[in-house]
């Protein structure tokens, strides 16, 4: 699946357009469709409330859901405004994920 199609799928699952952060296109291009589907499934589970969110210390109106691929190479952070909408999906490598975590205060 192309990165643009993946983003459309995310929009369809969450019911609204969100921002994307990190090297999302590059990350998606380098993984199999099966792994892309696993990320989409995780997005769906975040929406259903099945994934445990964490509070963001630096942005107290936000909460974040964390995704880690089984090989520990891809990380994702889906942020949501408390009691409101999902706002951003970050997808990237471990190094940038750590930076993003520090930024959000996770």
């Amino acid at each position: 699946m192309k990165a643009e199609d993946f983003k459309k799928e995310v929009t369809a699952i969450l019911g609204r357009e969100i921002e994307f952060d990190g090297h999302v296109n590059k990350t998606l291009e380098n993984i199999t469709e099966e792994r892309q589907k696993r990320i989409l499934e995780w997005v769906g589970n975040c929406l259903k409330g099945m994934i445990i969110p964490e509070p963001c210390k630096n942005y107290r109106h936000l909460i974040a859901f964390i995704y880690k691929s089984s090989d520990n190479k891809i990380r994702g952070i889906l942020t949501k405004e408390k009691n409101a909408y999902f706002i951003e999906l970050f997808l990237d490598k471990h190094k940038y994920y750590d930076q993003k975590r520090r930024y959000l205060g996770l």
Partner: protein, 296 residues
Amino acid sequence: MRRLQYTLNLVHLRGIKKDIVPAIFTLHQFELIEKRFSNKKMTPSEKNEFSRAVSKKMVAINKILEKETDNLFCYGKEKILKDRLELASRYLKRFSRMFKNKHVLITGSFLFSEKYHDIDIFVVAKYEKEDYRYGKFHINYMGEEAYTSSFFASISGICVSNRQIIPCLIKKAITLDTFISLYQELFNDLHSNFAGVKKTLREFLVQSAFISKMPLPDSYMLWHQVRIILRSKSKAKIIKKIFVYAVILGIDDKKALSAMKDMVRLYKGMMEDYSQHKAYYLNLIKGFQEVIEVES
């Protein structure tokens, strides 16, 4: 500028400045070394002097050291299995040829455990690259800034290296904030049975030692502690105890108290919005509450 045939630990070099200036280098030459290894811009005449006077001396010094040590430095020898030391020395020569003029170290359970998953090879390079498998070897790259990290201090406790390792002051920021984040992440990894939990746990144990101002565990100690904790039925309980112990011993009580109260407040809010995960949050905040109880 031409690639150098050697690398230098600038922190160490500055520490021994009085021993080498003027015995080996003039003050001006020493300043050139500092400039070159901190990637500062050099004028053409400085570049010329560096390669003419400094670099030649450096290559000669390295040659003397190589001959004396055969480029093999062993750390934590008493914990390394004898047959593994011989094998590791052979592998080290092979990888030193493969990664010319780079600092290469072999570490991990291969050195001290009969059973091991793979052989960890670390290469210190200017830029970090993606790690990869090469047969039974796991090649990992580290940037030069890794020398001042708690991770490097830990892995170099037991290793076979092609360069001498001089202990450096740990500069990579480990704060109460990063430690709390790691505690949260580890808790989540344990809860979700994440395959990479070992890595998170190792980092947590190193950070907890650093925070509580205890000696950093080497890879043998870490391997042992990780095994014990992950085999235990009370993993989360042990993690909480380590967290509480580290914060109480290493963080100023007022600072710790305020941070823990803040975390409890944040998670109480989460419990209201995500009541389905209440049990998880309650278990997690027990660590924060225990610190509050002790420090109040």
